[in-house]
């Protein structure tokens, strides 16, 4: 079943055309990678899914719901969660709270005036948050300030913040960027484990190693257009892809 459908999306910044008639279709349960050289428009495309940017033309439909022009929190409430390229966390809150916040958001909606009953009294939220911290191995640090984590841990925390919401679709913007090989492999393992939950994922990635370990469908973006789409093994040998990467190499 198709979960996300992108049709005819265009986006220009000044004279520069960042996205040019992008069409994309993501199937439920898939890990769909979007790859492409620097400046191909990957992050721009992702930003169009989450309401950070509004396309000039075109539609983005998520499970039958139009995502264009609606606010970031509404998109999230619809079931789309995002992991940022540089870790975006609540630095001066504890790790536990970092996970509790998204958990509350998915259970209580985008705004609830629940100013009386303590957070810690919400057993279901606490349990959920702690179990996800268990999963990603940050449980014993739960009272530590999030800002004090290493970069890799911050990424894992951010992943936990997504997963605790039981999203229908996760957008991962270069989940391993800037990581050591070991960390990268850990993350891949983690993502694979999560994969077992059957959550649909869109991964934007440079690292082919990551792409080919995770994805079961790949779209290649170059100069704002999807040039090839297919299974990873098909993509590997495609000359257009190589040309796009080589052609983009000088950028």
């Amino acid at each position: 079943m198709e979960i996300l459908k992108v049709e005819g999306v265009n986006k220009s910044f000044g004279g520069l055309k960042a996205l040019n008639e992008v069409n994309l279709s993501v199937e439920q349960g898939n890990v769909h990678a979007i790859i492409g050289p620097n400046g191909a428009g990957k992050s721009t495309l992702l930003n169009c899914f989450v309401g950070r940017l509004t396309p000039d033309t075109g539609t983005v439909t998520f499970m039958g719901k139009n995502l264009i022009g609606i606010k970031p929190h509404e998109i999230n409430q619809a079931g789309v969660s995002r992991v940022f390229q540089t870790p975006e966390i609540f630095g001066d809150l504890s790790i536990l709270d970092n996970v509790v916040i998204p958990a509350l958001a998915s259970s209580d909606g985008s705004f609830t005036f629940n100013a009386w009953r303590g957070v810690r009294k919400r057993a279901e939220i606490q349990e959920k948050a702690e179990s996800i911290l268990e999963d990603i191995g940050l449980a014993e640090k739960k009272d530590v300030l999030a800002a004090s984590l290493s970069r890799g841990d911050k990424r894992r925390l951010e992943l936990a913040m997504c997963l605790v919401q039981d999203p229908k679709l996760v957008l991962l913007d270069e989940p391993t960027a800037g990581m050591s090989r070991a960390d990268t492999n850990n993350t891949i393992d983690l993502l694979k484990r999560i994969g077992e939950r059957g959550i649909t994922k869109i991964v934007i990635e440079h690292d082919m190693h990551v792409v080919f370990s995770l994805a079961n469908k790949v779209s290649v973006l170059a100069q704002g257009t999807v040039i090839v789409e297919g299974k990873p093994e098909d993509i590997k040998g495609d000359p257009r892809v190589q040309e796009a990467y080589l052609g983009g190499a000088h950028i």
Partner: protein
């Protein structure tokens, strides 16, 4: 207890004890001693401590939690005061309707101001709130004189209509009261050289402050409070987390506006006069200073900050050269005069100077305000004890980050 964890319960109990026994705590020196000058246990100042404490607690819900720095909060206090005095003029000298009306009017006004100001953030938000408050002040001082009585301040008169009460009692304006208990009634107890005053008005304010403090704890520990902290920490991220941060900040703004209105209502309940200066930017600045000085984002810090500034304003400004000479009378004349000469610039009319220096010292050396000072002292003692595994649970201590 009361739905709080152990640490918060302890804090609440400390606050209850401090406010209930304030007449003793604030009057540590015998009446006849030279140090009696430093006693603060008289009704007016005690009332001010708790009223400004309420104001600062409310301000902290906005600033301490969300990081939105309002430079116009005094406007809500002022508007609340005017509403309170009008209730006393028109309806009854019972303080309950006055206080309620203060909160309602301040709440409505903060809905208006908040709705517009919260469209911007950062310093732009600060300037918007400042602009609203300065406009309120300027207009209240001049063209709105029929409603506010301008420069003089709105006060009661002998011919107020007062629907549910009497205009005057034997040529005097009846006192503000709570079902017959006059706010200005006091009971004085003398113990040896000490005199302690127990004032009805103070205890009303104190009870209200304890309730206000308790509500603040609940808000701090609630999901709502957590969202507000998240706004301060990373508002963008919060939006991508599926939370609509606007209504949260808006609710916090209105709540803190109502706290300010409550403070304003209590002020007129204690002393039925509302002056326009209450709304000036310096008054808004004062609550900012109280909060930061005490420790923004901490529960009890703003109350301490409020007490600190009001103590300076009321105690230091009253010390004069004559008193200095009395203190040092025992010393040889030359030393006495030198000491008086050296201290003279900092007391009496120089209390602003002392306050300015204290601001600077606190910010330079205690970035977290007075609460950080207390924490450091506590840490100092704890370091001596062998095991030190107390991390606040709910609030990750700064130590955890080290």
């Amino acid at each position: 207890m009361l739905g709080l964890n152990k640490k918060d319960t302890t804090l609440l109990i400390i606050v209850v004890i401090m406010t209930m026994f304030a007449p003793f705590i604030l009057n540590p020196f015998p009446e006849t001693s030279q140090l009696a000058q430093f006693n603060a246990g008289y009704p007016d100042l005690m009332q001010r401590f708790v009223i400004f404490g309420i104001f600062a607690i409310g301000f902290n819900i906005l600033f301490g939690l969300t990081g939105y720095l309002s430079f116009g909060h005094a406007a809500f206090l002022g508007v609340g005061s005017y509403a309170g005095v009008w209730m006393m003029k028109l309806l009854t000298m019972n303080v309950i309707p006055a206080i309620l009306m203060s909160m309602i009017v301040a709440g409505l006004f903060s809905i208006l101001v908040g709705y517009i100001s919260l469209r911007r953030s950062g310093i732009y938000f600060s300037i918007l709130t400042l602009a609203f408050a300065q406009m309120s002040f300027s207009l209240a001082y001049s063209v709105l004189t029929p409603i506010t009585n301008g420069e003089t301040g709105l006060q009661l008169a002998l011919d107020d209509p007062r629907i549910l009460g009497v205009s005057q009692v034997a040529g005097s304006i009846p006192p503000a009261s709570l079902f017959g208990l006059a706010m200005r009634d006091s009971y004085e107890m003398t113990l040896g050289g000490w005199a302690f005053t127990f004032n009805v008005g103070y205890y009303l304010c104190a009870v209200v402050m304890i309730v206000a403090f308790y509500i603040a704890i609940r808000i701090f520990r609630s999901p709502f409070g957590l969202m507000l902290k998240a706004v301060k920490s990373n508002q963008q991220r919060l939006n991508y987390t599926g939370v609509n941060s606007k209504p949260y900040t808006f609710a916090a703004f209105v709540i803190s506006g109502m706290y300010a209105g409550l403070a304003g209502g209590l002020m007129v309940a204690m002393d039925p006069l509302a002056g326009a200066e209450r709304m000036q930017w310096t008054a808004s600045g004062e609550v900012v200073l109280m909060t930061i000085l005490g420790g923004a984002g901490t529960l009890f810090g703003p109350v301490l900050g409020a007490g600190f500034i009001k103590y300076f304003e009321n105690i230091f400004s009253k010390i004069n050269d004559t008193i200095l000479h009395q203190w040092f009378a025992a010393l040889p004349d030359g030393i006495e005069d030198t000491l008086v000469f050296l201290i003279h610039p900092f007391i009496g009319k120089g209390w602003h100077l002392t306050l300015g220096i204290v601001f600077m010292l606190v910010v330079i050396f205690l970035p977290g305000g007075i609460m950080e000072g207390i924490r450091r002292i506590v840490d100092l003692f704890k370091r001596r004890s062998p095991k030190d595994e107390v991390s606040g649970g709910a609030v990750p201590s700064a130590k955890a980050a080290e």
